[in-house]
Symmetry: C2
Subunit: 362 residues, 2 copies
């Protein structure tokens, strides 16, 4: 490990301040929507999106966006337009998660039933027909609404025309990238033979670019950052993001439901295209591979089956290999950070963020 995993109290407070300012911007926007739409014909959808967003989440994308802004100019304050733009990324993320859960038919999110499950229950309770179908439809619409709000918050953030013009193309690219990553994920899910390369590609599009690189770029663009600075941020963001996903994959199989809010069986039941599983499959003996192919993807996989999979993941050395990849990416990102032409303050915060993002348990 290149750096200490224990954050200093000062760094923690700093990121906490960023987070709480973002939270304020989000809450202000959502409360205003509730005031104008709380009695609208689709008020249930409005409430549902609000609840989903306020229920928690790491706020990683908005935090990175604010850090991108701080990286590119010396001011330490956080102007409202910057915070609102950052908060818009969180609403965009709500859209992505809600639609993801429909596609994966995930039962849980953030420790609660996923949106399509919740909406199906509402509809059934009101005596409506076909609650399953209506739940899916309502979740698609809830995601669409979160996306519409994301744009609205961005458009009303009070950006100067030059800022808006700099940010919009980044948002456009980000959208195409997340759709691409999700499509790769969707079509490779359930195919344990998809391989390490496809799993890495999913991680790059869905996490490295979408979660880390683009939010940093958006924040830096608000400060007028040029090509050189943006490239330096990419050099940091892509390895952190890739290994963030690798950590997620490990937690998805070895994590604790109480901490992650997601079942540790779902990734295995769905046969998600993860580097962890693909690596294990590559390194497995014939017997181990046959067992993996039998167990991974079983809709009814139980804790006992999962334990057998976990044992193979460890025995093949896949877990160690993935941990080594995470450590190497971590190193790479810190080296890129050292070389980046950014403010010392942002450098410290991004260093700290890489540490906590990669050595976490939730």
């Amino acid at each position: 490990m290149a750096s200490t995993a224990v954050p200093s109290a000062a760094q923690e407070t700093d990121l906490d301040t960023v987070r709480s300012r973002i939270e304020e911007a989000l809450t202000d926007f959502l409360d205003a929507r509730m005031r104008t739409l709380g009695q609208a014909p689709h008020h249930q959808l409005v409430r549902c999106v609000r609840e989903f967003v306020t229920r928690g989440g790491k706020r990683l994308r908005p935090v990175l966006s604010v850090l991108g802004w701080q990286a590119a100019q010396p001011r330490r304050d956080m102007p409202m337009p910057v915070l609102k733009t950052a908060a818009a990324l969180e609403l965009f993320h709500a859209f992505a998660l809600i639609h993801d859960d429909v596609m994966d038919d995930s039962a849980m999110r953030r420790g609660h039933p996923s949106v399509h499950r919740t909406m199906a229950l509402h509809h059934a309770a009101a005596g409506g027909p076909a609650p399953g179908r209506v739940g899916i439809g309502a979740a698609i619409l809830a995601g669409d609404l979160a996306l519409a709000w994301s744009d609205e918050l961005l458009h009303t953030a009070g950006l100067r025309p030059a800022q808006l013009t700099a940010v919009l193309p980044l948002i456009d690219v980000m959208r195409t990238e997340i759709v691409c990553g999700q499509y790769l994920d969707l079509t490779a899910t359930g195919r344990p033979d998809a391989g390490v390369e496809v799993a890495l590609q999913v991680a790059r599009y869905k996490t490295a670019k979408y979660t880390f690189e683009r939010p940093l770029h958006v924040g830096a663009a608000l400060a007028g950052a040029g090509e050189e600075l943006q490239s330096a941020l990419s050099a940091y963001a892509l390895p952190v993001g890739e290994s963030f996903q690798l950590r997620d994959d490990l937690l998805g199989v070895f994590g604790d439901l109480r901490q992650t809010g997601k079942s540790v069986l779902e990734d295995l039941r769905d046969a998600k295209p993860t580097v962890l599983l693909a690596t294990a499959r590559e390194r497995a003996t014939t017997r181990q591979r046959a067992l993996l192919d039998h167990l991974v993807g079983q809709r009814g996989l139980d804790e006992e089956g999962a334990t057998r999979v976990r044992r193979i993941l460890v025995e093949t050395g896949a877990v160690n290999a993935v941990e080594a990849m995470i450590a190497e990416c971590h190193q790479q990102s810190l080296q890129a950070l050292d070389a980046a032409p950014i403010t010392p303050h942002a450098r410290t915060a991004l260093h700290h963020l890489a540490d906590t993002a990669l050595w976490r348990s939730t």
Copy 2:
């Protein structure tokens, strides 16, 4: 009927010119996407959206948007930024239709299998697991991609900052409205007792506002139109839009598959909340209502059952009542048009559009 249903050749040519210029703008954008993304990992999704958009459609929203522009300023030419903004509305519409078809599980669209059905077939042909689930996921993503492109086309249309600032809030409102309308539709579908008021509300949000009012507003906003002009356009657009939906409902039950590209059984099988059905149910005798409630909403409804429903729709006077509503809305919209402070050229075109939109067979 307030006005002749037979368009003059000159009017037809004029709208045809608008349509073909819009078509060019759309094709240019989609071809450029194919060049950059035709080999991308998600190229199948890219092709799918392109095919869906180029396969046809009335281009009603972009045409109205161009007419909104022509209404608000004396120039008869169509600058590229105006055409691109108009074309962006068509990409937005592709998003709405693709997601709609998922929610309704519609088998057909524009005479071809709907996107989720097509993508399921692709995936099955490639030997992928769970094609039904993957088809739905891929269609959600195809819709999301069409939406991302819609924004991209708008953002790169070459609008001046003042134009962009005028248009973005309208697009934001339009999105919230279409989501709201779709949610009302979704939750009322399959409930034949939903009533005329709910059916009218769906028609207002999904068609009157989304299809007619907002596109006109967007075009007019590009020309710097103020409150008064926008209100005058609303006074024309809302009755036309409402009755356009009423006509759609009639065609959805009495139309010709070969002309509409949609099955005339689906609306009945799904028990869509239409003014036509709600009116029939209100006017029905006890026996007729029992029969309607028995037949409408049957997944296996056949042509014979549909014929019985059609007979009730006629016998209760519901068909005549809806035709009368259409005629009245048509009158209202023409009166509003006469009073509107718009260019004579746009007035003629909008008059013609109201005629053909309400007295059509597809």
